[in-house]
Amino acid sequence: MSAIAVAKKDFRDAVRSRTLLVLTALFALFTVGGAYLASWAAEVFEGGAETTLDLIIALQTPAGYLVPIIALVVSYAAIAGERESGSLKFLLGLPHTRRDVVIGKILGRTGVVGVSIVVGFAFGLIGLFAFVGSVSLVDYLGFTLVTLLFGLVYVCIGVGLSSMTRSTTKAAIGAFGLIVFFWFAWSILVQLLLYAVEGQFFVEEFPDWYVTLLSLSPDAAYGSALGAVLGESGLTMSGMYGGDELPLAAGPWFGFVVLGVWALVPLAIGILRFDSIDL
């Protein structure tokens, strides 16, 4: 399988990056800090050493912010960088299809992001044992797996972007534009739309379309998927927007569907685009 050979080579190459080391250290710092905050929260809620809540405080916040950044930093230059430098001609001079290269890159870079996540979460785990004292390992594992999936989604987005341009600068701008879009612009736009439709920002009950739109960003979907795995509704749209009958897209398990779409669409666009261009 040619994509595997590309992935292995790519992993070996990218995992030696210094930027990755710095980002992983930062991530570990945040998860340990999160574990500390979790122990503080446990005291506040008095004996409420509710394991999933600890995990959420310790891990979801740092992962929700840092995994997209790490994944995009690791992947934005995956193809554009090789096109820019010319090493892509070495890679494609060997018998790999362009699709194998895109898929290999995604696998390789996901491996790299995976190492970073596992290292960060290992520190978080140590922190939780040290500060809180007890952790549900099953929940922890579920948390890690969903986060790896979340990393994969952002790697697909990053590699997809990377396959569309020859310029790493453009790929970087695209990647970070996307982060800004998902973190800020998305919800602001949805708010504005709400205002346009309802004439005000505060409504008694949020309309279904509003909750649906907010649920469709990869970050919201990560929350939903975590909620589904941990059986904890506080993370999901259903938890936040209360209503008894929620639109399909806001349901916890639907988070996986949304994540899947965010992985596959950029992947498909990337493959199609990369297949047709001149190197």
């Binding site: 292995k8 080579k9 190459d13 070495f90 494609l92 060997l94 018998p95 001149d278």
Partner: protein, 309 residues
């Protein structure tokens, strides 16, 4: 059997025409030298053969397969040394060769290949620390993986010292003897002259000549380079120069102090000497050298001259 068959290929980048109606055939088992000045379209042609880029019009087939449809099979049987090598800075030389072996599902020994191109001692060094010549040798090692039927080398002697260039030629000869077809581009004529069976000359995206080296030499009227030493510079040197230049059969005149270098058809030699003496100077000495591929190259690629086919 043809190894590479390019027929009526045009490649346009936006408004820029890189190749126009190119026809080129490389026969199986030959060493084909692809000559042309930088920017003539040599790399564009090679990129088309490797399916790195797609033609605007025309057909490219390699090893009897369509360059686009059959690209994977073509690359399974082809070894490639692209222009301006860039490698993976963080991987070692051996890792590069091992990756090529794995990619081609070959059973070569990485160290043996590195030994063959002369960088066995740098096998465990990261390629980021390699000199240009070492990177070139490493890429050649990866191109040799799996005993390819076709070797495509874009300016293979770039970055190599004369000794390295000689070793490169030796390897090309060995590979050809083994049965590989070799297609390589160069703007260095000595490279081509020494090992090619046939040569194609590309100028401004068009193949202006394709022949054996002997055939090419025949195609150009016998030219001699005449080095003429004068006793002094003529008083009206500009007039003297233009007088020489205007002689029928003279293609190029260069003055270096009291020495005049004139490229001239054999039959016009005496006219040149007489014209110079007419300008009041004495020819102290003159010597001729046979037309080299260099002259031939100039004759074919210089803009202002037309050479009968």
């Amino acid at each position: 059997m043809t190894a590479i068959d390019i027929s009526n290929v045009t490649k346009r980048y936006g408004d820029e025409l890189a190749l126009e109606g190119l026809d080129l055939t490389v026969r199986e088992g030959e060493v084909y030298g692809f000559l042309g000045p930088n920017g003539a379209g040599k790399s564009t042609t090679i990129n088309l053969v490797l399916d790195f880029i797609r033609p605007t019009a025309g057909e490219v087939s390699v090893l009897e397969r369509d360059a686009q449809e059959g690209s994977l099979e073509i690359r399974e049987r082809t070894g490639i040394l692209p222009e301006g090598i860039e490698l993976y800075d963080r991987l070692t030389g051996r890792q590069h060769v091992e990756f090529a072996i794995e990619s081609k599902a070959a059973d070569d020994d990485a160290d043996e290949l590195l030994e063959r191109v002369g960088i066995a001692d740098a096998a465990d060094k990261k390629a980021g620390g390699y000199s240009k010549g070492m990177a070139q040798r490493l890429t050649l090692a990866t191109a040799l993986v799996g005993e390819p039927d076709l070797l495509i080398l874009d300016e293979p002697s770039t970055g190599l010292d004369p000794n390295g260039a000689r070793e490169m030629r030796e390897i090309i000869r060995e590979e050809n003897r083994r049965g590989a077809t070799v297609f390589f581009s160069s703007h260095v004529l000595g490279q081509v002259e020494a090992i090619c069976d046939r040569v194609g000359i590309l100028r401004d995206g068009e193949l202006i000549a394709e022949d054996s080296i002997a055939g090419l030499e025949d195609a150009v009227p016998n030219r001699t380079r005449l080095r003429i030493r004068l006793d002094r510079i003529p008083e009206d040197s500009a007039a003297a120069l233009s007088a020489v230049e205007s002689i029928d059969g003279v293609s190029e005149v260069e003055a270096e102090g009291t020495t005049l270098v004139v490229s001239v058809a054999d039959e016009a030699k005496t006219t040149v000497l007489r014209t110079i003496e007419d300008h009041g100077v004495t020819v102290e000495d003159f010597e001729t050298d046979e037309s080299s591929l260099e002259d031939l190259f100039v004759a074919y690629t210089a803009e202002e001259r037309e050479v009968a086919p």
